[in-house]
């Protein structure tokens, strides 16, 4: 099911934990749905210098959290915002199709943490708030492996 890389990041997740006095913190997901990801960023001169996470969720959720923290470190805030869930999944040698939504979680957590950083630093434009996570349980199709196109 999971690639070796996913299993490696799941069994030995990088950057688990919290950052005290983080510059940006984002929490997305919902315990009701079985997944919560909390991302902590340390940002200096617009560059992400440290990232940590805590995740409640499946193997894919943990592995994408771990990979995301690796991917963002060293990037500028704007570069980090361009990291897509697809990029995270690819960096993990792929995810089962039923688990792609878990990588959304990682993308959203990065955005939410940067959002938080921007808000704290007065960098937010007028309407950017909507970009913060308003994800609800029902947005996620947790029906692993179904085909919605042709099923009754």
């Amino acid at each position: 099911m999971y690639s070796e890389k996913v299993m490696d990041h799941f069994m030995n997740p990088r950057n688990v934990g919290e950052i005290e006095n983080a510059d940006g913190v984002g929490e997305v997901g919902n315990a009701k749905c079985g997944d919560i990801m909390k991302m902590y960023l340390k940002i200096e001169n617009d560059i992400i210098v440290d990232a940590k996470f805590k995740t409640f969720g499946c193997g894919a959720a943990v592995a994408t959290s771990s990979m995301s923290t690796e991917l963002v470190v060293g990037k500028t805030v704007e570069e980090a915002l361009k990291i897509t869930n697809k990029a995270v999944a690819e960096a993990l040698d792929g995810l089962p199709s039923a688990k792609m939504h878990c990588s959304n979680l990682a993308e959203e957590a990065i955005r939410a943490a940067i959002e938080d950083y921007k808000r704290k630093n007065g960098l937010l434009g007028e309407c950017d708030c909507a970009a913060a996570c308003g994800r609800r349980c029902d947005d996620v199709h947790h029906d692993h492996g179904y085909d919605e196109d042709d099923d009754e």
Partner: protein
């Protein structure tokens, strides 16, 4: 990985016992005749089926002619429920069940709701029990069927089947029970318990997958579900799956011959596991009734963690188990059973089911007790919900 597999998921499926495989093997090769044929190897197949049918009927106190082989437990459930519903719709359209049935029953009931039937889903208490009184109260003049599972596949809770059977009998309503988890694991007598129809499946008691059986009390009005040839006395079509049917018979014979001893053994493993884990690990809760539960079933919820992660880590330690988490089950919500007994979503997500069987030993439990606390602690440290 690389370590010896410790399998603690016997409620999902079991391996097939060597004696069962051995009994099946000749029917793939030399004795492959179609049981409907009149030549020698056809008649031998027929005979093997009838011997198997007798083993099944003996095991549950029925007559051989009341046993019909199917392609699975799910098919038996579909057949029993749709079969009674459509055969008796002139009498009424109301069905009573519970909200913790297996999907084979629940989805069948939902299908019938779309086709004009009315279904009452009885709620269960925090242990997963329905009371006979609840059933009696739910009966209406148009009730034609009560279908309540013998024992639950997730939390192991055993229902008061004989009492419910007595009520159904008194009211003249058909009573079906999904005994897929119970049969081969606890003693059942369909006559004493007033059961009219009962679903079984071989792969839960060391028989092969892909073969089930439906007990249908003589006289029960039931339409066919799979139409075609005249097999199974014209009631369930398709070339008989002789190796599998033979395997069913052998497996149920072995299971019932040995039931007390087997139960004593796996109950000991169960009780020790429950006692020690609840002692060793904080924020843990046993799901299901403490006594009225299947001998091999343990179901625990670990707060703050998610089931799939737990299973993956156990798998890395060579332990195979299951969970009620939505992340593993293919549905949006976590297990409907865990929600029905009142668990909040986030706790249901962190549930672990361990079901013991034949080959499990005290050493297996030792290993579990060694690795599980470490895994739970690791996942909790990773969890944003813990210590928050």
């Amino acid at each position: 990985m690389g370590e010896k597999l410790i399998y603690m998921d016997h409620a999902a499926t079991t391996y097939v016992k060597p004696q069962v495989v051995e009994a099946m093997l000749p029917f793939f090769t030399e004795k492959f005749g179609n049981a409907s044929s009149i030549y020698t190897i056809g008649r031998e197949s027929k005979k093997a089926i009838e011997e198997s049918r007798e083993k099944v009927s003996d095991a549950i106190g029925a007559q051989a002619r009341e046993i019909f082989f199917t392609g699975s437990g799910t098919e038996a459930d579909n057949w029993a429920i749709k079969g009674v519903a459509y055969a008796n719709k002139s009498k009424g359209n109301h069905i009573i069940t519970t909200n913790i049935e297996h999907h084979a029953v629940l989805h069948t009931c939902q299908y019938l709701e779309n086709d004009g039937f009315e279904v009452t889903y009885l709620p269960v208490d925090e242990n997963g029990l329905v009371t006979p009184q609840q059933v009696a109260d739910a009966i209406k003049p148009n009730t034609i069927l009560i279908t309540i599972m013998f024992a639950n596949n997730e939390i192991g809770t055993i229902q008061p089947i004989a009492e419910i059977g007595a009520i159904a009998k008194e009211k003249g309503i058909y009573f079906h029970t999904d005994a897929v988890q119970a049969i081969g694991n606890i003693a059942i007598n369909v006559k004493d318990m007033n059961i009219d129809l009962m679903s079984m499946s071989a792969h839960k008691f060391y028989g092969p997958k892909g073969v089930g059986a439906l007990y249908v009390r003589k006289g029960v009005k039931l339409v066919s579900f799979i139409h075609g040839g005249a097999q199974e006395r014209g009631r369930r079509a398709s070339t008989e799956n002789i190796p599998a049917i033979v395997g069913f018979g052998k497996a149920i014979e072995l299971a019932t011959a040995n039931l007390d001893e087997y139960n004593k053994k796996i109950m000991a493993l169960r009780d020790r596991t429950i006692d020690e884990i609840t002692k060793k690990i904080p924020f843990v809760k046993l799901n299901g009734h403490r006594e009225k539960r299947l001998p091999g079933n343990v179901n625990l919820s670990f707060q703050f963690i998610e089931g799939e992660s737990l299973l993956l880590m156990l798998d890395m330690k060579g332990i195979a188990a299951s969970s009620g988490s939505a992340c593993t089950s293919g549905s949006l919500d976590p297990s409907h059973v865990l929600l029905a007994i009142g668990l909040p979503h986030e706790i249901a997500h962190g549930s672990l089911r361990l079901t013991f069987g034949d080959e499990n030993t005290d050493e297996d439990v030792n290993k579990l007790l060694e690795v599980l606390p470490v895994i739970v602690e690791r996942l909790r440290e990773m969890s944003p919900l813990y210590e928050n």
